[in-house]
């Protein structure tokens, strides 16, 4: 049984079909990126999973059941939905303690979760004084309270600085790969999650566009580098000698597999060959994603 299972989910808000027949699943021990442009239907899917939105049809199941069927859901599922869902006048520690009280967890869990996300020093400050990044960490802390095995995170990298994003990546990988949790994380920025996820589900205008493992979606016969030079006749044998497979697009343009850009540059420098362009070709995943996000 998959930890998270979405089956033919449909949800409209008035005339707008927010989610239109989406199906996918997330297994324990893996991170799945749920990607799509803003307004694609990601949040509606996640809120359906969490029982906040009632789907028109289809199913959104966690551990084989609708959210909330069992009595203490926070011990099964940790969710991060918005970094804005705090009372500004309440401190972070009190925010978490309120949730602990309602969930029947000891107050000590609040302090442990604050430590896990690195907010101990700011724990007794009112949330009004928090940066967006700190609010994201606090939201994540509330997801950790019940030590769940399933995580559902909506745009958790929003507002994090580069160091924060790096920290989040490590944290999500740790949850999935070391602790065996199932992690579903949505984002509208591919680069945020590309280095974290094992699987990818792409959605646009409420419909599923592509899904598969990251390896499947990024394998377009290996990394391809586009190289332009006026001295192709000299460069091709040199690169081939270095182990590259080369496709000549035209007189001056080569598609090179099997060597990275730096190696190609060194080979060219050794032969005193001038390169006028060296560029990494976008992977299939990036292409698909950009077509979707830039196509309109």
């Amino acid at each position: 049984m998959a930890a998270i299972e979405i089956k033919n989910l449909i949800k409209s808000f008035g005339p707008v079909k927010a989610v239109d027949g989406v199906s996918f699943s997330v297994e324990a021990g893996s991170v799945t990126g749920y990607l799509g442009p803003n307004g694609a239907g990601k949040t509606t899917t996640l809120r359906s999973l969490l029982g906040l939105v009632t789907p028109d049809s289809g199913e959104a199941l966690v551990n084989g059941e609708r959210y909330g069927t069992r009595p203490r859901p926070v011990t099964e599922v940790g969710a991060v939905l918005e970094a804005t869902s705090f009372h500004p006048g309440r401190t972070a520690r009190n925010h978490l303690r309120v949730l602990c009280t309602a969930a029947g967890l000891p107050d000590a869990r609040a302090d442990e979760a604050l430590e896990q996300v690195g907010l101990v020093d700011a724990a007794d400050k009112r949330v009004a004084g928090y940066s967006l990044g700190m609010r994201q960490r606090l939201a994540l802390a509330s997801a950790l309270l019940g030590r769940p095995r399933v995580y559902i995170l909506d745009e958790p990298a929003n507002g994090l600085d580069p160091a924060g994003i790096e920290w989040l990546r490590g944290f999500l990988r740790h949850l999935a790969h070391d602790e065996g949790a199932a992690v579903l994380v949505s984002s509208h920025v591919l680069a945020e999650v590309e280095q974290t996820v094992d699987n990818v589900v792409i959605i646009a205008r409420g419909r599923l566009v592509r899904q598969g493992s990251l390896a499947e979606l990024t394998s377009n016969g290996g990394e391809v580098t586009r190289v332009r030079t006026a001295q192709a006749a000299d460069l091709v044998p040199a690169l081939e000698a270095a182990g590259a497979a080369i496709e000549r697009v035209d007189d001056g343009l080569l598609r090179v597999r099997g060597l990275d850009a730096e190696t190609i540059g060194r080979v060219a420098m050794d032969r005193r060959i001038v390169l006028t362009e060296v560029a990494q070709e976008r992977s299939d995943l990036q292409k698909v994603f950009l077509d979707l996000t830039e196509g309109r």
């Binding site: 809120r47 906040l52 939105v53 009595p71 859901p73 926070v74 918005e82 309602a102």
Partner: protein, 262 residues
């Protein structure tokens, strides 16, 4: 239903970890204090044929003591805010994630509201005790619990404030918008109820409103110069108040349980 005590404690914790409650408490005691001040200043003064009893009489104590029920509006606003701030700050999302059975959340909030309302009632009673008793004694009167019916009025104040908090929460769950909820509470309390309870000709309707029922509970039977009021008997007043509480609770639950939280 076994989670209810924990959920009620969580709701109380929500209230007591923000500043609003003590600001409201200060405002409430200020208002009660100001109206007591007026009652003391005008005690025994006759005006247009109607006279406020003198400070040393049991009737004055009765009227002054019953003034505590005017705190109802603040408790009602507190109840409105307890509910609507969850929508205003979107903390309702986290609340329903922890407790997906939304009916339980509403029940816990209503119970917490009753407790907070009663605590405000206690604070008002303590405040009245430390102001009214010295005032009456200094005026040469004798503070008599039985003659001025202080015990019954006190019970009435506690019940009224507890139930007004409940109304506030029910109203908040219904409108969800904080400003709209507070405006509705003020209009209801200061306009609709004051008209129907102040004008004896309208008491036929007014006695069925929460404020009228609260008056009945306290059995205030004093001629204010506009004619003797005709309230329900005390027990019926209590029943009417409880019925309002249940009605609001039912409406609050029904409108919250199935709504999408987006």
């Amino acid at each position: 239903m076994s989670h209810i005590p924990g959920l009620v404690r969580a709701e109380l914790r929500k209230l007591f970890t923000t500043r609003l409650w003590w600001i409201m408490l200060i405002v409430t005691l200020l208002l009660v204090g100001v109206s007591l001040g007026f009652l003391m200043a005008f005690a025994g003064v006759s005006q247009n044929g109607s006279a406020l009893p003198a400070l040393d009489t049991a009737q004055w104590t009765e009227i002054a003591w019953a003034g505590g029920s005017s705190a109802g509006i603040f408790v009602m606003i507190l109840g409105v805010v307890m509910m609507t701030s969850e929508y205003r700050y979107q903390t309702i999302t986290g609340t329903f994630l922890v407790t997906p059975r939304r009916g339980l959340v509403i029940v816990a909030k209503l119970v917490a509201g009753l407790i907070v309302g009663a605590l405000f009632g206690l604070a008002v009673l303590v405040f009245q005790a430390v102001t009214v008793i010295p005032a009456v004694t200094l005026a040469g009167g004798e503070f008599s619990l039985s003659a001025s019916r202080v015990p019954q009025i006190s019970v009435g104040i506690l019940a009224t404030l507890a139930l007004y908090a409940l109304f506030g929460i029910g109203l908040g769950a219904l409108v969800r918008n904080q400003i709209a909820g507070i405006v509705a509470a003020v209009v209801w309390s200061y306009v609709v109820e004051s008209i129907f309870t102040a004008i004896p000709a309208l008491h036929g309707v007014g006695k069925w409103l929460p404020a009228g029922a609260a008056q009945a509970l306290m059995s205030i039977d004093v001629d204010t110069g506009l004619g003797r009021p005709e309230w329900l008997p005390a027990w019926a007043g209590a029943l009417v108040l409880v019925a309002y509480g249940l009605l609001f609770a039912a409406v609050a639950t029904a409108t919250t349980v199935r709504r999408d939280i987006t």
